[in-house]
Amino acid sequence: MSRFTVSVHIVPRRGILDPQGQAVTDALHALGFHDVAGARIGRHVVLEVAAADAAAATTSVRDMCGRLLANPVTEDFEIAMVEAT
């Protein structure tokens, strides 16, 4: 078994009202960043996982996202990085 650091991005699904993202968008506009068309605010989870290889670590984290880390009704997740540690 090796150790892997796996990071996951979890964000509100596109089309679902994200008031935090809206507030941040408004604030960026107030600062003059008019090129910002929208923002979505989610979570970034960094997991330390013991697995045989990177593929196994990814599979396991995907399962974790489906069962706990993300809400399948309202959120999308993306495994952003898998790194041996």
Partner: protein, 229 residues
């Protein structure tokens, strides 16, 4: 009749639920979330609060507490379950009810008395009310914006499973009367089989005149009458 009130770490409305149940002559019992059995319990209340500090998402971790396996089994067998506020969030996370409860649209915690309309008075939790009856119940939550896919919302409407909606004094569903931005003004729903109720307002805090409203009694009276029958 025995009403089990599940206490999670961070529950804070379990005592209020106890009081409401006792007031109506039923026997309340606290069930610690680490327990695994609901033996002898006829009805389950998932009370309000901030289980596990609302970490990750409200209700997301409580849903995996040991007792929840027994709660889900109880519900699948047709046993009544009432999820109030955090309990509604937990019931959704556990898949007992559809949808999810997200951060209030205005990003503020809301603690207020709201007006509700009884949309379906033909459920085991609402038959003591008249259809269309207006209620005043308190709300106190930061994450109460009911959200579901359009298909799910249509199904809930078609099947009469929206039991309470936020309305204004004239009985209209408006943005101004909606304290959290819930889709279609939804404040409470029941499961397809009708034995699981989830709602964000607190009926257990509206059971005596001294509390400012007695409009919450009907939910407990309806349910107790049906279970005793």
């Amino acid at each position: 009749m025995k009403v089990g009130i599940v206490t999670f770490p961070g529950s804070n409305c379990d005592y209020d639920a106890w009081h409401a149940v006792q007031l109506l002559g039923a026997s309340p019992a606290y069930v610690w979330h680490k327990e695994t059995s609901l033996d002898g319990i006829d009805v389950v209340i998932l009370p309000g609060g901030f289980s596990y500090g609302d970490y990750l998402r409200a209700g997301a971790i409580a849903r995996f507490s040991p007792i929840m396996t027994a709660v889900v089994d109880h519900a699948r067998r047709g046993g009544p379950v009432i999820g109030i506020c955090n309990g509604f969030q937990i019931a959704c996370e556990a898949g007992l009810l559809p949808g999810a409860l997200l951060r209030n649209a205005n990003l503020q915690f809301v603690s207020d008395m709201v007006r509700l309309r009884v949309e379906n008075a033909d459920t085991m939790f609402t038959h003591a009310y008249a259809a269309g009856q207006m209620l005043r119940l308190p709300v106190a939550h930061g994450e109460g914006r009911f959200t579901a896919s359009a298909d799910t919302l249509d199904r809930l409407d078609q099947e009469g499973r929206v039991v309470f909606r936020y309305v204004d004094a004239a009985g209209a569903v408006t943005d101004a009367a909606n304290p959290n931005g819930s889709m279609r003004g939804i404040a409470g729903i029941v499961s397809a089989e009708g034995n699981v109720l989830g709602l964000m307002p607190h009926p257990e805090r509206a059971v005596e005149a001294v509390l400012g409203s007695t409009d919450g009694l009907g939910i407990f009276q309806s349910m107790l009458a049906r279970v005793s029958a």
